[in-house]
Every structure is written in C-alpha cells, then in structure tokens.
Symmetry: C2
Subunit: 190 residues, 2 copies
C-alpha cells in the first residue's frame, strides 16, 4: 500500500469504496449474509465479475468492512460530542440525548447489531467488536473518573452507561415502557 503514489491511491479507492458503501447498506438491511455480490453488482450497475478485480473474494470484502467500521467507530468516540463541551457529565448527558431515531442513527445501530451477531461466528469480527467496546468503555470510565469517581467505580458506571446506550438502540419498546431520556439521574449524572 505504501508503494502506491498519491494519484493512484485515490483513483482505485473510489470504486472500492463504492463497493464497501453498498455492502454496508446491505449489512444494515439483512446482516452479513445479505452482503451478496450479485445484488451489489446490480445496484452498482456492473456485472458480478467486476467485483473480483477489487476484491479476491467475499471474505476480502468482509475484512475491508471491518477495517472501515473500526475506523468510524473509533473516530466517533468522544468526537460525536462537541469538543467545546469539556465538562464530563455534560458530555455523557449529551451522549444519552443523541437522537437514535434518525435514519443515520438507525443505520449505524443496524450495522453495529449485525456486526455483533457476525462476531459470534467470526474471529475477525469478534476482535473488532472487542476493540471498539474497550475503547468506548475506557472513554466513559475516563469521564466518570474526571467526575471524581475512583477507578473501580468509574469502570462500573461506564459499563452501566454503555449498557444503557446499547439497550436503547436494541430493545424494542413502545411508549409506555420506554424510559427515554430520563436515565441521566440514575447514572450519577446530576
């Protein structure tokens, strides 16, 4: 990769990224097994055979997707919240208040859920999920630490906080049982 010139890098990566982007759309809709070459090719307006110029096989596409997801998920930690909001409790509160019903948020949640299921049978996927979970838990624990909690308590609070975030994305509730944005008080965010 390092041997390529700058001009060549962008010339081929554009089409490869188009494949990966279409693959994430399919992943969000139907899981990893819905990432099928023929439908992707039809959506991109090319034949199946052209796929094998960009990737050696389906597994190579999967690998590229995991690499991309790692990058995005890592980047989002902390940066979703405006950096001009330095107070840790404010940052956590804003994380809780992030809308999870927008198309973008729904797509991201579906992708992540699909990857977590995929991780149950794929070692590479499991490693990516493990890595991201550690990064996020570490970040939340750091914020709780800045709020004055001791390391052990900060880690426990971080776990509860992260669990709540995941649950709000995955649990299917109606209006009655959805406690919505009112969790802050229970998570030591006063």
């Amino acid at each position: 990769m390092a041997s390529r010139s700058a001009a060549q890098t962008s010339s081929t990566s554009l089409d490869t990224d188009a494949w990966i982007d279409a693959a994430f759309n399919a992943l969000a809709e139907g899981g990893i097994d819905a990432v099928r070459i023929d439908p992707l090719a039809k959506k991109l307006g090319v034949t199946r055979g052209s796929f094998y110029w960009h990737f050696t096989d389906r597994a190579a596409l999967h690998q590229a997707m995991l690499k991309e997801w790692r990058k995005r998920a890592s980047y989002q930690v902390g940066s979703r919240i405006d950096n001009r909001t330095p107070a840790p409790d404010e940052r956590l509160k804003q994380n809780l208040a992030l809308p999870n019903s927008t198309p973008r948020a729904k797509r991201a949640a579906a992708i992540e859920l699909a990857i977590r299921l995929w991780a149950q049978r794929d070692t590479q996927a499991a490693r990516a999920v493990k890595h991201i979970d550690r990064v996020r838990l570490g970040y939340y624990a750091k914020l709780y630490g800045e709020m004055g909690l001791a390391p052990a308590a900060a880690r426990k609070s971080a776990f509860l906080f992260y669990a709540s975030l995941l649950a709000r994305a995955y649990i299917v509730t109606d209006g009655e049982t959805d406690v919505g944005d009112d969790l802050a008080g229970m998570l030591s965010l006063y």
Copy 2:
C-alpha cells in the same frame, strides 16, 4: 422413530419440531439467512423436497420459529429463578448471577441477538421482540415495586437492570473491562 400410537397429535409435530430445532441451530450460528433448507435437509438426512410437506415455504418456517421463541422466552421469565425464592431482590440478584458462558446460555444469547437483528427488517420478528421485552421489563418492574420503589422509579430501575443483562450477553469484553457479577450494588440490590 418413537412409537406414535398413543397420541395422534404428536404424529407430525415430531418431525416438524426436528426441522425447527435444526433451524434454531442454524440461526444461532449464522443468523436468519443461514436458516437454509438444503443444509437443514442434509443434516436431517432427507431431501430438500421433503421440507415442503411440513412447511409451505421458508417464511412458514420463520413464523414457526418466532412462535416457538415467544413461547420459550415468555416461559423463562420468572421461572428461571426458583419459585421458592420469593424475595424480589434475591430474584434479581440470581438473574444477574446466572451463568452466561455455558453452551446453553451462549446458544440462547446468539439466537436472541439474531432475532433482534432480524427484527430490524421483519415486522413479525419485531413484534415478537417487542412483546418479550415488554414482558421482561414488566416483570422486573414488578419486582422493584415489591422492593418499595414507586412505579416510575421501578420502571427506570427495570430498564437499567434489563440493559445490564443484555449488555453482559452482547458486549465483548476481556478480563479488565468486564465488571462481571459486581453490578448488584449499582442496581439498588443491597
């Protein structure tokens, strides 16, 4: 191949259940799209065509799986904990202490995760998940209510409790970040 002279009702359900059971195994390993008729037939030692005697098509198998999962998941609520443990906080504690690393627990978690992903694109699956979530949240809220919490607080505590349970099944952690069985104190379980 057991004798079926006793009850006529079980004459066909035995083979149908064999298909459903094999289908859950496939679901746990590879998601709903891995529930494929040909591999299932091979595992059951029959041809693909025989599937269509028991089910009209793949969708009918999916429907039967959801019905079965609803039944099992509903039955498990509350009954996993010995009924001779009537104290609500003890019941919640024991729920937290349930092993989630046994093959049985891992299989159940994989099945549920697969169904939650499936629910993102299938209305029937979404309804089943919604129903089970309501049943569970209601049960936990009832226990918190018995512990003296007001209805609103009980529902919030139930959500946090349920979120923790789900998270411990879905979050991929290593030894350092896994706070393990030490959540009881944070969930008002003293």
